[in-house]
Symmetry: C2
Subunit: 560 residues, 2 copies
């Protein structure tokens, strides 16, 4: 080993304060952020942004320096939604037997590092990833299509916070059982005394299956939860978003090696078209943990077929807004417009179904008809997106031709209230940028609105009244799932009924968001992302149920 | 409602000290017991034993007073292993739709009782069950075949402790997230402030599938963990061990009703021959949690087919003892003899495979040959079981004709070192009581010893040396599972190697047990029962992974 050896427990000491803060925040659910979310030069230094972009650009057209056991040849599968090929080549995994064998090679040393050592190493990995945050942000931008600032935040700082949250939550669970205990049972004579030892052991091999839109934010919680609990991790990225996870794996391997562990405890399994690598890996008996973000079809397939593994899935749902009344019509419209526009609605948390009584709503501007509500939303979207350059920074780019085709097709779903228009990106001529489309439906159009139309498409759905809206929220989320729900109402009775419906449906609720908080954003350490209580996801970032099944406790006992 | 209403949170206050003690013990893993394990009149009162037996006897031949929705007619399926029919009739569940509908009817009120209310009610149920401990002990004795004192302890006091442990562990997990939080994010201007509410919601319907040998001890942890986390529970007992769980359900319903909840939150689903009720219930979409104790065939079927549910299984394995050397040959033989004899080896934790080097072991009595080790074990068994009356109190009765047939068949597996003999029970002429059979094998006989031979059968297996023994421990447990492992050695190096093998195989280890602790006994609050890390069980009594998946947290948030 050429680098100086890092002592894992010294790494824990180095990052201990950050860990302790994260553990406290997870417990109190109060505000905490360990990684600065603003890409400001004042915070990150004058040269950081340019250097990160230079590192990204130097990678374009290159072969990414990772060795993956079981790979033969290379694949380059990424094209930026901003209109150019990344042309980065990765080892193509064609033979999973050597990959699995290599991944498992270091499992015993990693187990023996104990929670303290593994946590120290994982926290050091986060620190190193933070050091490459600008490079990561460029990689996320040009695979997901997120605008740069969002890629820096959601793909960098917030993803690091979510990873830290998963590590902190795992730490709490792993250390809740002591490593030793003295057990002394009174009897009529001498007490029976036993000395007991408790050891955290891994479940086995973990598989992380990444998605195209949030390659880091959605993959890191599962990756680091599995790793810190002792499990080797094979990372199978989406073919269109490999680079952010390739950088991740590279950093993991560097820190693992420097701290004396087998670098293949974390590996990248890139694939070519039609390789179906995830399906092959997912049913291997060695794979005991799977984290998946993506569509319902493959998510359901995993839940049904990967029976040897504990499977954590985040799939799709129909995010719903109940609009009953508001104390600030302009505030509501502006808030919803932002939520619809942000990253072109390509977020699992973006609202889709806006339920409004057919006879309109009471507002601070008087009673407004359904048409006026639609017009208000349209005006807010126009206002937000009037300037192409500013709009592009909010919308990002359309991630894939499939999303564009879905958008084009959606105009036929009903009467168009707000048209989608193409935006010319100020920096990237070939970027595909579109504003949100708003379609008018009625509650009878369940064949349309009960399906997620992922992308910049939302439905303004006329209901008989708010009671029907609440019933639809409960019913559609129960049957089709949702990552988010929200409500606008000035009535405490309505808010109470919607809270009850959200509990019944098992979906997180945001109430009367008018300011700088949006329904599609969840705050690490405080907001749970997904509940696991409806069909959209069977897991949550990050609760005990997300981490406790990733390890077991094995004890030994003896008389003293 | 005729009874006075119990206030759930007042019940929590009443039992709060017990809960807090249990939570502390689960955390420290030190000795704790909430329920007195000795059936002594000094502790339980002079009349308690007679009264409990009278209550049991009054039930014989009767129709058990429970109503189960969806039942038609009655079934009486129990025969005491001590030689008489119980002839207790239970409602026969023939239609699961009304049962499921009734079970789910009270779920919202139960959810709204919050962890505080539900925990209070569940702790009160334990208290009431404790009040019927002698009756329960008789019911366990005459369904499982356990001797009375064991039935009182394992089926009564220890089962209550395991149930309390599951409740305490669930309490810790449910209350680790606060019910409200104030989240305040600094910005350049006014901070963003959100008030957040977090609510524990149930997964859905829970199914508990009981076993014949430990109807309470093995069923109560899952039952109470599911119930306290908000899930209605359908209890499907083994047809040969219904009464202990019928009493359990009756007590649950009484306390639920008295505290204002729907009594059908806990129901008994008894079945007739070939009804296959468990298989029918297990794949219903409403069933989201399943706890199963029993054989591998149905356990594996559940894991593979009940994909809509989180499935906790305890199945079978091959419990293994590595015998390398000992500082007390007589102590070792006496300890092992007790473990083999206790309840005729009809425990999932009883040792089966005793691995001894072919050229014998070093002991405090000098080097002893393999034959001398076998003779020592035989002598210890003779000594322990020489008196029929005393032997019967240790052996209990053979639980079923299948176990007896297996025992009869096992004599053909190899050379018989210690014969099994029939014991005449001093009180029950028709009881089937047998002493353990010890068969000599070699490490080549894997076709025999790699299968669990549930009942009073053990194998003394000659290995090349202790290294081979350790290799066999690691390999057989990895592939076939085990609930327990133990080792006898005076060598620190050997102990270290066996600990390592136990960690690799994921099995709990007991070292050099010579006194009043036996490998087949696990202490509530301190010893984990099963690890979930080998094929014998996918869960453990009681760790966070056993309880955290039984609920979800649903949040709402709003500006202050």
């Amino acid at each position: 080993m050429s680098s100086p050896r890092l002592e894992p427990t010294a790494l824990l000491a180095r990052h201990r304060e950050r860990l302790d803060q994260a553990v406290r925040a997870c417990t109190s659910r109060t505000y905490f952020a360990a990684f600065e979310e603003s890409p400001s030069p004042r915070l990150y230094g004058e040269s950081a942004a340019a250097q990160g972009m230079a590192e990204f650009e130097a990678t374009l057209g290159s072969t990414f320096p990772l060795d993956t056991p079981g790979s033969h040849g290379y694949v380059a599968t990424e094209r930026s939604p901003y209109g150019f090929d990344l042309d980065v080549s990765y080892p193509r995994t064609t033979d999973v037997d050597p990959l699995i064998a290599a991944a498992l090679m270091g499992i015993r040393d990693w187990r023996d590092a104990r929670p303290e050592g593994r946590t120290g190493v994982c926290l050091e990995i986060l620190d190193r990833l933070h050091g490459r945050i600008f490079e990561l942000a460029n990689a996320v931008q040009h695979t997901s299509g997120q605008a740069f600032v969002m890629a820096f935040q959601a793909g960098g700082a917030h993803a690091l916070d979510r990873a830290l949250e998963a590590i902190a939550c795992s730490w709490s669970e792993m250390t809740r059982t002591p490593t030793t205990a003295l057990w002394e049972k009174p009897t009529r004579g001498e007490p029976l005394v036993m000395e007991k030892t408790f050891t955290v052991v891994p479940r086995g091999l973990a598989l992380v299956i990444g998605c195209n839109t949030f390659p880091t934010w959605n993959s890191w919680p599962g990756l680091f939860a599995s790793l810190v609990c002792g499990n080797p991790v094979i990372v199978k990225p989406h073919p269109s978003a490999v680079l952010p996870l390739a950088i991740t794996v590279q950093v993991c391997q560097q820190v693992l090696e420097e701290s004396g562990f087998d670098p293949h405890l974390v590996t990248l399994a890139a694939e070519g078209p039609d390789d179906r690598l995830a399906a092959t890996l997912a049913v291997r008996p060695e794979v005991r943990l799977i984290d998946f973000t993506g569509g319902n079809a493959f998510g359901d397939w995993l839940e049904q077929n990967a029976q040897q593994a504990t499977v954590f899935t985040e799939k799709a749902g129909v995010n719903t807004v109940v609009i009953d009344s508001t104390s600030s019509f302009s505030g509501m419209c502006a808030n919803l417009a932002f939520s619809l526009a942000l990253y072109s609605g390509q977020m699992c948390t973006a609202p889709q179904n806006l339920l409004v009584p057919a006879d309109g709503i009471d507002t601070d501007e008087g009673h407004l008809s359904l048409a006026e509500v639609g017009a208000g939303l349209g005006a807010a979207l126009d206002d937000l997106l009037v300037d192409d350059a500013r709009a592009a920074e909010l919308l990002g780019a359309v991630v894939s031709p499939a999303v564009l085709a879905r958008l084009d097709n959606a105009a036929g779903h009903g009467a168009v209230l707000v048209e989608s228009r193409a935006i010319t990106h100020p920096s990237y001529d070939d970027a595909t940028v579109r504003t949100p489309l708003l379609i008018r439906l009625t509650s009878a159009d369940s064949d349309v609105y009960e399906t997620e139309c992922f992308g910049p498409v939302a439905y303004l759905i006329a209901t008989a009244d708010t009671a029907e809206s609440i019933g639809l929220l409960r019913d559609t989320v129960r049957r089709h799932g949702a990552m988010t729900a929200s409500v606008y109402s000035t009535s405490e009775a309505v808010l109470s009924d919607v809270r009850e419906a959200a509990l019944d449906a098992g979906v997180a609720l945001s109430e009367n968001l008018l300011g700088g908080i949006y329904v599609n954003q969840s705050a690490s350490f405080s907001d749970f992302h997904g509940t696991g209580a409806n069909p959209a996801a069977n897991a949550s970032f990050t609760d005990a149920a997300f981490v406790a099944p990733r390890f077991r406790v094995v004890q030994s006992r003896r008389h003293v």
